[in-house]
Symmetry: C2
């Protein structure tokens, strides 16, 4: 448990932490409501997931400032996991809690198995493509609530087409509130902070106030609905039960647990990857490092605590963490205060939420996730690495035209496959000596000189099952083409691993070369491969010698 | 099309090819019958799959001697794909042909996409574990036919348990024929070839005759059944329709095509991996190389031709290819003659097959696949590479306790994951100069000397998303611990690729180091990474320099 911050905490920090907590709450509440709605639950369930997890994460997680709660993409994944199960609303609530519970258990299991390196299973371009795709998906799904149009299609592109073709059926008041809010949020984002600064306000405070605009909008629109009694025309949150729900799982919900396993795994994986990325940004600013296994612990416990009160899956939110970070604090106190404020609202202020219109929440979601659409990474990757850029685009398209789970599988598949594929076709350089030196370089790129009876080959990749065959064929081909030859020297400076398939290949190559009267030598063996090779058949039968450097080999063989 | 052998073929080879073809047929017929039964089809369907594919493969494939037809493991996979679909026997026959058709199309698609490197997707130990597991699975499944005991369990271990518990219910005559055949085959394998050699026969002929034992047994047992009219007590092949079937697909079978896609993909993949391994053994003996894409073409066409006559999926058979190879021939003529003999049997000799007892076929299967259980690879791998050995064992167990498809997925997952995992934790060596030389080596393994303001780090792995984070943390840690430092030199001799995630990391590292007043230098950059790096932000902003060698860097920085 992380309690070291208690000793370091100074009482005079409390005022600043309180100020941060209030602003954080103003951002948190509309997001929590909106993301619960996005997940397919009554909006106030977002508040349930916004108290305990904040506290529990701070105690077990790796980053003191990470703000854990409902996040957009995970809520979308929740909806996509539970949507097709055809549940009634009470079952849906239970199933969401069960999904959260299973995600939490998976995260704790990963932590126990010390699988923190899972965070590195997805490449940056694939993550970027995935998040951009999910953001577009969210925006399309929110158009229904924003405009008051019902769509029956589940596929994003079909849904977009349906919404456009039904535009004439939109509910004017709902659409007015929604589009009005969107416009205000857009103008606010562009101008409010500048305006306030011009009016003489401190830049930091101006920024915080401009970020509270969604909350302000939610309150004003709620007051409008209440004042004009629009609640029968416009969809609103409705009656919020006081206090916390007690969650229990009925038998028919427990039975669907196996169907939730895979979605929960994806939620755990994507949530973890996103959260640790945010925690790393925070840690870099404080010149600290993040411990991935501890991060898994913190996120796992946070999700268990969310499931306990019927909440949705919770992970690190970038927008809310930014607020805590900008305050300059390095303790979780601001997050604790935020959790307490949310609890107060739930206990005594829940009737205030009743009249909040859903379309305004949709506007705040759309505005929030619009920032997630990441074209900068695409542009940059396209310039420097076409295959990475292609992986980004394919993942983006897979999320949009298939669905979010297919998108993840595609992205992971592309990430892993590209690594294997690349390693399967290693570069093999023929080396020669740069005249007058003891340096050996690629004959294609440098003026070199060579002994005619010796072939020097440098293999630029670890040797494993994926490339053993290809490497053998390349070596055999060079050996045949450059005849007459007496010595083959494999320069192993780039080889850090040889698996058993590749070891078999080298043994076979050695036998083959010596059958033809040649000698196979190895040079520049690293110690990490020297040790496992020691007792192998290859070392025992090697027709040639082992040399420390390529120069040593060349010298010894020709002196 | 491969027709070059026609020009090279000498008429005097024909006698030898005829001799080989006769022996090959004697081995082929019991295997073809038995493997079709294993696939869940009437045994004579194995003969349908044994003519055209032999010829078609020879025309389009990459190995002139590969004997293509029914093979044990693929037949097991066919049964495992079609078994759960609850089809009647006429539907089952159509579905098998459809599965063969889809496998063929997938193989041709791979060929068109030039995906021959798919053959390297599985590591040697994983293939060994998979084949051993499948062999045990086949033996267990054949115990029913061997003993005349019916089992209802589909899971191999449960089935074994059920068969043992029902041993008292065995059909004595069936079991007698089966176990008797097994005993004779075992003794034959151990002693017959030696015996014949002792009697003065040529070693090669003795071996071929000892291998015809299964056919001899099948004929004798058929004669016994016919003579004593046992066909109502003992399960026999039964009436074989004369000639070839014409296959057509009814609508209800076409509808299950999507369900056959994944099994067909696995059959294509495993069949290809096995066939190319056999083709490579053959090619090595002839000092030739195998073209994987051409191999895909040949196998794909062979499967299409098998589907055409209602046959099962066909791939290279090791046992039958060995016969052709031992004959010393390098033309497909022996295979052509074999196909013609089989056609004659089907046209005019099919009534000879009617009385062959199934239990004797089961005995020949068990004997044939027993050789596939490969403990040698396990022993060898266990000695040199524990993680490879573990992958072998896990794959073996997955095939046995789950099923054959789970086994493949597990094996492929383990193969790929182990590569990524290993690359995710690269070795990073601190280098120092071996005194009096310009050689730089790992300070842990050599006596070296260092400049106190310079840190030389060699990264022993390509830089990619999977290890960028880990590498950055290691570098930052060394940089902090070894302070005060002025220069950080990354020695890139082992780096053949930098992806965009890793490039981002290096840019960040460069900014970080120079913010602290340090300089980041790169040494021993290979040309293959120099080119893509050229226009990058890293090269533009690099605080230090790029050096050809580590020695150059050390000299320049301290002169």
């Amino acid at each position: 448990m992380n309690l070291s911050w208690i000793r370091e905490y100074k009482p005079q920090w409390l005022a600043e932490d309180l100020r941060i907590a209030i602003f954080a709450t103003l951002i948190l509440i509309p997001q929590a409501l909106a993301y619960a709605a996005l997940a397919g639950l009554p909006p106030y369930f977002g508040l349930y997931a916004s108290m305990l997890p904040l506290v529990v994460y701070a105690l077990f997680g790796s980053s003191p400032v990470l703000s854990v709660g409902p996040v957009a993409i995970i809520s979308l994944m929740t909806a996509s996991a539970l949507g097709p199960l055809a549940l009634d609303s009470s079952q849906y609530i239970q199933a969401a809690a069960l999904l959260t519970l299973i995600s939490g258990v998976i995260l704790l299991l990963f932590a126990a198995l010390r699988l923190g390196a899972l965070a590195n299973l997805l490449s940056q371009p694939v993550i970027s493509g995935f998040i951009s795709g999910a953001a577009v998906l969210i925006i399309i799904s929110q158009l229904q609530a924003l405009l008051g149009v019902q769509a029956s299609n589940k596929n994003a592109l079909m849904m977009l087409y349906e919404i456009i073709s039904k535009l004439s059926l939109l509910q004017p008041l709902t659409a007015g509130l929604g589009l009005g809010s969107l416009l205000i949020l857009l103008l606010g984002k562009l101008y409010v902070a500048d305006l306030l600064r011009h009016l003489g306000m401190q830049a930091k405070t101006a920024l915080l106030i401009s970020r509270s605009l969604p909350m302000l909008l939610v309150i004003i629109s709620g007051a409008l609905v209440f004042g004009f009694q629009w609640q029968n025309t416009v969809a609103v949150i409705g009656k919020v039960p006081q206090g916390l729900p007690t969650i229990s799982f009925t038998g028919d919900i427990v039975k669907i647990a196996p169907q939730l396993l895979l979605p929960a795994l994806f939620i755990a994986l994507i949530g973890f990857v996103q959260s640790i990325a945010i925690a790393r940004v925070a840690a870099t600013k404080q010149r600290q490092t993040v411990n991935p296994n501890k991060e898994l612990m913190g996120l796992g416990s946070a999700n268990l605590s969310s499931a306990l009160v019927g909440g949705i899956p919770v992970f690190g939110s970038f927008a809310r963490t930014a607020i805590t970070m900008e305050g300059g604090s390095n303790s979780p106190v601001a997050n604790f205060i935020t959790a307490i404020i949310v609890a107060f609202i739930l206990l005594w202020g829940s009737s205030l939420l009743t009249y909040l219109p859903i379309s305004v929440l949709a506007a705040t979601i759309i505005m929030a996730v619009f920032n997630l659409i990441d074209t900068a990474t695409l542009r940059k990757t396209w310039q420097h690495n076409r295959s990475d850029a292609l992986a980004l685009i394919v993942t983006f398209i897979a999320v949009l035209v298939a669905d979010i789970e297919i998108g993840i599988i595609t992205g992971m598949g592309l990430s892993l496959f590209s690594v294997i594929w690349r390693a399967s076709y290693p570069y093999i350089a023929i080396l020669g000596r740069i005249p007058g030196t003891t340096h050996y370089r690629n004959v294609l790129h440098y003026n070199t000189e060579n002994q005619s009876d010796t072939l020097l080959l440098r293999i630029d990749e670890n040797l494993f099952f994926g490339n053993a065959q290809v490497i053998e064929q390349r070596i055999q081909q060079e050996w045949r083409e450059k005849q007459p030859l007496k010595h083959l020297v494999l320069v192993m400076s780039s080889v850090s691993h040889i698996d058993s398939t590749a070891l078999d290949m080298l043994e076979k190559l050695n036998a083959d070369i010596s059958e033809q009267g040649g000698f196979l030598h190895l040079a520049e063996l690293k110690n990490i491969i020297r040790t496992p090779l020691k007792d192998s058949k290859l070392m025992h039968d090697l027709s040639g010698k082992i040399f420390l450097t390529t120069a040593d080999a060349d010298e010894y063989l020709h002196s």
